[in-house]
Amino acid sequence: MNILLVLIPISVLIAGFFVALFILSSRDGQYDDLETPAFRMLSDDKPFEKTIEKATAKPIQQSIFQAISQENETQYKKVDSGEKS
């Protein structure tokens, strides 16, 4: 079973790589926001059909949509920066 002499170092190296990747990514703050995506996926497929139809007639409607998305985004950033500080 000479093959184990090759196998064990390879396994240790690779396992180590994944542990390192996990530690690095955690330190880097990649798991900071684990809330918003779960909520965001719920709201994205409401058809904007009617909004859009009206929007072409009344541009105000479109800006309402923009305002909403902008609001979301600023909130989002607040959470982001809030946790970092």
Partner: protein
């Protein structure tokens, strides 16, 4: 600083729902076909005459069709429908290419039709869940690449920077299935519809079950988990219980799953450390699997009343529950001591169906009930029918699982039952253990029928839903901002990682390759795994022809060729199989189920005439047998002309045939056929039988286990005599408990010997 970017203009887009609709309809169609074939196969086990004496209706041909149709046709189309639906919405982008979408759809359906025709006609590679021959394998690869390009093209054009957890599961699926399929299907063609696996024996077994296990992992699990992470929150309009857990779930699952394959080969001639590795990783799978299940179920917390009322949630919640059950059972069955009883029995069959019916079918039903009304802009035709379908399906599934538990444990215990007084098998006739479980086969067939009925109810319900939908609906238009590549400057870590699908894909590939390399590469690199044995010789040309008939008729679906080092198996079948014995087996035929007895050492056990009568009418020599009759083997001519080509391919694969062997293959085969025909003539069989297919099959069966036969036989007799001597003390009532000890010790001892 990015205030200006939020002012970016909105882009209008719509979704390619036509493709999703097509895949949804195909899911319904192939689901019914797969289940119908399964039900017929189930009734054939209860009563073999159900095959109506038709060659293409025998269990050996239907079973590969059933598994391939259920996995690749039914679950496959469901995955494509659900993935394309959710991917577009999560990415806020239309499918990348209409042409690719259509090619993907029609290509996949053409593959399914080709698979159905060729499998029934007996074209098979002889590797479970990968029976399709090489031209279809190439087609699968092409269509899969089209799927991948379409998928990643859509992902690159997304208007939502964050890649939702569901998409990661899809990415893992696409990348891994491609890898699995290509590596396992590598073979050298003999003719248009015949090829030999690149690998042989133990190596082929290892690769096959690395594939087979991961087909379950990456075709029936990860894509459906992705769908779970999309459709459960959507259906209940609540976020997933823990997004954090879903990320942990993903990484741990893809990393651990890829290592678990060897648990299909416990106690076989595979090196023991590899078996232990597979077992350890299988048990580790408990954690991520249950993490995912809990995450799905807790999303429903506080809304269980809706699960009671709405078919969508009812199916999704039950599916996740069955996922939890199946992923509890799986690691349990991977524990060597449990596997010792359960392997080769119906318990495994029941386990698989609690996964495919309970998890995949019910997930698909929930997804279709959610998607179809939305796609056709209408409401579900009948909630009541949905409930009826649910209960019919659930009762059918429970009948299925429970009957298979009972059957599996019964048969497994009967196989291993040894009379402590005499040290002999309590049920020496295999057929006794078969007859005992036939009532369970009836229960299973009825359970399966109920599941089929429930599926037909769904087809009716959804068909009516689609029919009642308003016609000529305009495509809905959506709006969203495009994502600016430069915007990501302030984003770090995982957010950045998610923004780079290419990087993410590379990391996933890496995680998978790690597992793959460590488990498979060694078997290429060194022959230290296989104890070389000079007395193992390649098959004669006639035996090779017979082996191909064995594969064509799907004998491996019911007969294993791998004797485990357990006392009961040694008593019943002979010395444990060694890796050295199958070094020239392209493909390996170790099998996974013993509906009939093991055949690894059947050679010379019976006279030629016994096999002749047995293949013509199994019940003539084994009363109570449930094996089909194979009358066509006595009418069809054996095709020996192709043998030189077959030997040539085998030679290229490393089987030591000389040029002379190849040149004289046909003459050699005819000579051996003549010899067998002569022995049959003694019992009054006409000489014209010599060029019929039964002759090569008999030649092959008589060769099985013969290479090491005599040596092993004497060794084995000595060992059994020793054991019997040990058992004598067991007759003393005081030491009755210790009487089992030699039996327990023997397998371990023997495993060392074979290594």
């Amino acid at each position: 600083m990015s205030d200006t970017t939020t002012q970016t203009q909105l882009e209008s887009f719509s979704y390619d729902d036509k493709t999703v609709k097509l895949f949804s309809i195909a899911t319904l169609l192939w689901g019914a076909v797969a289940m119908l074939v399964g039900v017929i196969a189930a009734f054939e086990l209860a009563n073999w005459k159900v095959n109506l004496g038709l060659e293409w209706m025998t269990f050996g041909r239907l079973r590969p069709l059933h598994t391939n149709a259920a996995i690749f046709a039914f679950a496959g189309n469901a995955i494509f429908a659900g993935t394309y639906y959710s991917l577009q919405r999560l990415c806020k982008a239309r499918l990348f290419s209409k042409a690719l979408s259509r090619f993907h759809f029609w290509g996949w359906q053409a593959i399914i039709v080709a698979a159905a025709v060729t499998l029934l006609a007996g074209f098979s590679t002889g590797k479970e869940y990968a029976e399709l021959e090489w031209p279809i394998d190439i087609a699968i690869t092409l269509v899969w690449v089209a799927f991948a390009v379409n998928f990643f093209g859509t992902l690159f054009r997304r208007r939502e920077k964050h890649i939702y957890v569901a998409i990661w599961f899809y990415i893992a699926t696409i990348v891994t299935v491609a890898l699995l399929h290509i590596v396992n299907s590598l073979s050298i063609p003999v003719s248009l519809m015949k090829s030999y696996s690149l690998y042989a024996g133990a190596q082929d077994a290892l690769i096959q079950w690395w594939y087979g296990h991961n087909a379950v992992a990456f075709f029936l699990t990860t894509p459906f988990l992705g769908l779970m992470y999309y459709f459960i929150p959507k259906a209940i309009n609540r976020p997933i219980y823990s997004y954090r857990l879903s990320i942990v779930h993903f990484w741990s699952l893809v990393f651990i799953y890829i290592w678990a394959g060897p648990h299909h080969l416990l106690y076989t001639a595979l090196p023991e450390w590899l078996q232990t590795l597979g077992m350890v990783f299988s048990i580790s799978l408990w954690a991520p699997s249950w993490g995912g299940m809990i995450n799905g179920l807790l999303t429903l917390r506080g809304a269980w009343d809706r699960v009671r009322r709405e078919p969508v949630l009812k199916f999704l919640a039950t599916a996740v529950t069955f996922y939890g059950m199946a992923t509890f059972e799986g690691p349990l069955l991977s524990i060597k001591s449990v596997n010792q009883l359960a392997h080769y029995t119906d318990w495994i069959v029941g386990h698989v169906h609690s996964g495919t019916i309970g998890w995949n079918y019910f997930m698909t039903a929930g997804i279709l009930f959610y998607m179809v009304p939305k796609l056709w802009n209408t409401t579900l035709y009948s909630v009541k029918l949905g409930n009826i379908q649910f209960w019919t399906g659930t009762v059918g599934l429970l009948l299925y699982i429970v009957s298979m538990w009972v059957s599996g444990v019964t048969q497994g215990s009967m196989w291993q039952a040894i009379d402590p007084a005499t040290g002999t098998l309590v049920y020496p006739d295999f057929v006794e253990t078969v007859v005992r479980i036939i009532p369970m086969y009836w229960v299973r067939a009825i359970g399966g029928t109920l599941v089929l009925i429930s599926f037909l109810i769904m087809i009716y319900n959804l068909g009516k839903t689609i029919k009642n939908a308003p016609k000529d609906q305009p495509e809905q238009v959506f709006q969203a901002k495009s994502i600016e590549p430069s915007e990501g400057g302030h984003e770090k870590g995982h957010r950045k990682l998610e923004g780079l699908p290419a990087v993410f894909t590379v990391l996933t590939v890496l995680a998978i390759i790690v597992g793959t390399t460590i488990e498979i590469l060694p078997s290429f690199m060194a022959n230290t795994f296989v104890q070389k044995n000079e007395s193992v010789k390649p098959y004669t040309p006639l035996e090779l022809a017979g082996r191909d008939i064995y594969i064509r008729e799907g004998c491996y679906n019911c007969h294993s060729q791998m004797i485990r080092p357990l006392v009961a198996e040694r008593l019943r079948y002979g010395a444990p199989s060694q890796a050295a014995e199958s070094v020239y087996d392209h493909p390996f035929q170790w099998g996974s189920r013993r509906i009939g007895p093991d055949l690894a050492r059947v050679g010379s056990k019976y006279p030629n005439m016994w096999h002749y009568r047995h293949m013509l009418d199994p019940r003539a020599v084994v009363p109570g047998s449930i094996m089909p009759s194979y009358p066509w083997l006595f009418q069809k001519k054996s095709q020996l002309e192709i043998l030189p080509k077959k030997l040539q391919v085998m030679q290229a694969l490393g089987v030591p045939y000389s040029q002379e062997d190849i040149d004289t293959a046909v003459a050699n085969a005819k000579e051996q056929a003549e010899m067998i025909a002569e022995t049959l003539a003694e019992s009054g069989v006409p000489a014209s039988i010599k060029d019929k297919q039964i002759i090569p099959l008999i030649a092959y069966l008589q060769r099985l286990g013969m290479d090491l036969g005599t040596d092993l036989k004497y060794e084995e007799e000595d060992k059994l005599a020793e054991m019997a001597a040990g058992d004598d003390s067991a007759t003393d009532p005081d030491s009755e408990a210790s009487g089992e000890l030699p039996a327990e010790d023997a397998p371990a001892e023997d495993t060392e010997v074979t290594q």
